[in-house]
């Protein structure tokens, strides 16, 4: 369904141009959840933005191809991009507060993709939006419909983001650190929701995270990135149990986990 190969992204506003992503390759099948993991500066977010053609002006794709359902994404005109975004590929972001427009109602933002990509009238749009809100676990959707983002908690906002991203029934959703800003219990709920939506709608998810624990719980395959380069890729189980790259080993060793207490002596 999605075939990225040799993707290279450069920042061209500095001299010499800075390579943010180098020779990135990835393929995804329909309904699959694939993870990209890396520390800050690894280029994982740039890759995600490139998939929706949302790179800032000074970041340029200098090599590689991105083919989505037979369409060459890199040759799309701005007009054609608009038809892909929200309809074929949608995206959710890390900060559910700032990623929602503060002065528009939840309802207006939920049904935006429908307004842009379908000919549905206001009434059926609202019906679809309300049904979707129900599905992403927002109780009392009628009441929330007229609310504004600041009236919702962080977890609810992320549910709204997910609902708004799925309401147009896209085949791929890019999720850029969707649970990083949330508490552990909320994080678990949102991850469950994403898995459920993935089952329900067969929407493939490209899951970007810095946290291998999250990747392990939701993804089937993973690519490990470091400073723009893919150091390792494969099935999550393989990569985590038998890492080949030095960096992956280092990363795995650094993850806090309960098999390895750093505190040897105990004080009193």
């Amino acid at each position: 369904m999605l075939e990225i190969s040799g993707l290279t992204i450069e920042f061209q506003d500095v001299k010499p141009p800075l390579r943010a992503v180098e020779d990135f390759s990835l393929s995804m099948e329909p309904g699959e959840i694939v993870g990209v993991v890396g520390e800050s500066g690894s280029g994982k977010t740039m890759t995600a933005l490139a998939l929706l053609g949302l790179l800032k002006r000074h970041a340029k794709i200098t090599a590689g191809t991105m083919v989505f359902k037979g369409k060459d994404l890199l040759s799309l005109t701005p007009r054609q991009w608009q038809d892909v975004r929200g309809k074929e590929i949608s995206m959710i972001f890390q900060e559910p507060m700032t990623s929602l427009n503060p002065v528009l109602t939840i309802g207006r933002q939920m049904e935006e993709s429908l307004r842009l990509h379908t000919n549905l009238d206001g009434k059926s749009r609202k019906a679809r939006a309300l049904a979707m809100m129900e599905q992403v676990g927002l109780s009392q959707p009628e009441k929330l419909y007229g609310c504004y983002p600041h009236q919702l908690s962080g977890g609810m906002r992320q549910r709204v983001m997910i609902g708004a991203a799925l309401v147009g029934n896209p085949s791929l959703m890019v999720a850029d650190e969707p649970t990083t800003a949330l508490d552990v219990t909320i994080q678990a709920q949102i991850l469950d929701l994403l898995k459920e939506m993935n089952r329900e709608y067969k929407t493939a998810i490209l899951f970007i995270s810095h946290d291998l624990r999250v990747i392990q719980s939701i993804c089937s395959r993973v690519a490990v990135m470091k400073q723009g380069q893919t150091v390792e890729a494969g099935l999550v189980a393989d990569v985590l149990s038998a890492p080949k790259a030095e960096y992956t080993k280092k990363l795995l060793a650094a993850i806090p986990h309960r098999g390895n207490r750093l505190r040897k002596k105990r004080g009193r």
Partner: protein, 313 residues
């Protein structure tokens, strides 16, 4: 609703404070009001009787009360210089100043919103650069100098209007407003420049917000994102500027009325200050202050309408 009530309370208190302060200010004027009215040649007796007649012998708070009551009824005292009721003077001049400031405000909105959006959208590119330079220049011209330049260019050189040929509104609204066109433009120009600059930076700031990225990710075009998402957010900070600009417009109108010899409130105020005609000065000040505060109140309410978060604060 709670927000509105709170704002109305603030408005009333503010108005009271303003009236009290301006009343007190003109109570501590150096020199005796009765003295300045009669001149130094008057006898002690005459002054005493006048003081009683003017009510200057009563306690301060009582005088404030009766002054306020009179003011609200439209009785603003009597001008020292012209010996006519102040309210009459003001009623005659008020429409002139309202017309000129109103026109200036409309020009400001009409020019700064589209240009500000344009400059913000094309930030760093040619239209923006031209606008920025132009803006910087316009902002640097002192108000009265702008008036003089415009008089010279459009009045003396191009003969599009007759400098000093003011036509009263009693003689006809069209020539009246026609004469006010250039003065109001002179007032509005620097404010336009400020407005464009502010809206531009506000739009640029909003365009960098995460929610704009979200809007694009749902398939909005640049124009759709600009008008559907960015516009409302970026107008919020500019709204505050507009409220302040009204005060500035009123202030410039005082000066520009002089440049274009228009007998409005500003001219009246300046003359009264020179003549130490305190009742007139006081009335004009309180009136302008009241108007400014009221307009600020309206802007606050408008803010509450546009920004849903306000009700929480």
């Amino acid at each position: 609703m709670k927000y509105l009530i709170k704002k109305i309370c603030t408005l009333i208190i503010t108005l009271l404070v303003i009236s009290l302060l301006s009343f007190l200010a003109f109570q501590v004027i150096p020199g005796d009001a009765a003295l300045s009215r009669l001149g130094t040649g008057a006898t002690e007796q005459k002054r005493e009787s006048l003081r009683r007649e003017m009510g200057l012998d009563r306690p301060m708070l009582e005088r404030y009360g009766s002054w306020l009551k009179g003011f609200l009824k439209g009785d603003m005292g009597e001008s020292y210089t012209y010996s006519v009721p102040v309210s009459g003077l003001i009623r005659e001049k008020l429409p002139i100043t309202l017309a000129i400031t109103g026109m200036a405000f409309v020009w400001m909105l009409a020019v700064s919103i589209p240009l500000g959006l344009l400059a913000g959208k094309f930030a760093g590119r040619l239209p923006d650069r031209i606008l920025t330079v132009l803006n910087q220049l316009v902002m640097s011209v002192p108000g009265f100098f702008m008036g003089i330049l415009i008089t010279c260019l459009f009045g003396l050189a191009l003969h599009w209007f007759t400098p000093g040929g003011y036509v009263s509104y009693q003689e006809g609204w069209r020539p009246f407003l026609g004469y006010l066109f250039f003065p109001s433009v002179s007032i509005a120009l620097p404010k336009c420049a400020m407005g464009v600059k502010l809206l531009r930076s506000s739009v640029i700031g909003e365009l960098n917000q995460d929610y704009v990225r979200t809007a694009y990710s749902r398939g909005n075009s640049q124009t759709q994102a600009l008008f559907g998402h960015v516009l409302k957010n970026s107008l919020l900070p500019v709204l505050t500027f507009w409220a302040l600009a009204i005060a500035d417009i009123v202030a410039s109108s005082v000066i520009l009325e002089q440049v274009f010899t228009i007998p409005g409130l500003g001219t009246l105020l300046v003359q009264s200050i020179s003549n130490r005609d305190y009742p007139v000065v006081q009335a004009v000040i309180v009136l302008v202050a009241g108007l400014t505060v009221a307009i600020n109140f309206l802007v606050d309410v408008l803010y509450g309408v546009i920004d849903p978060r306000v009700n929480l604060r």
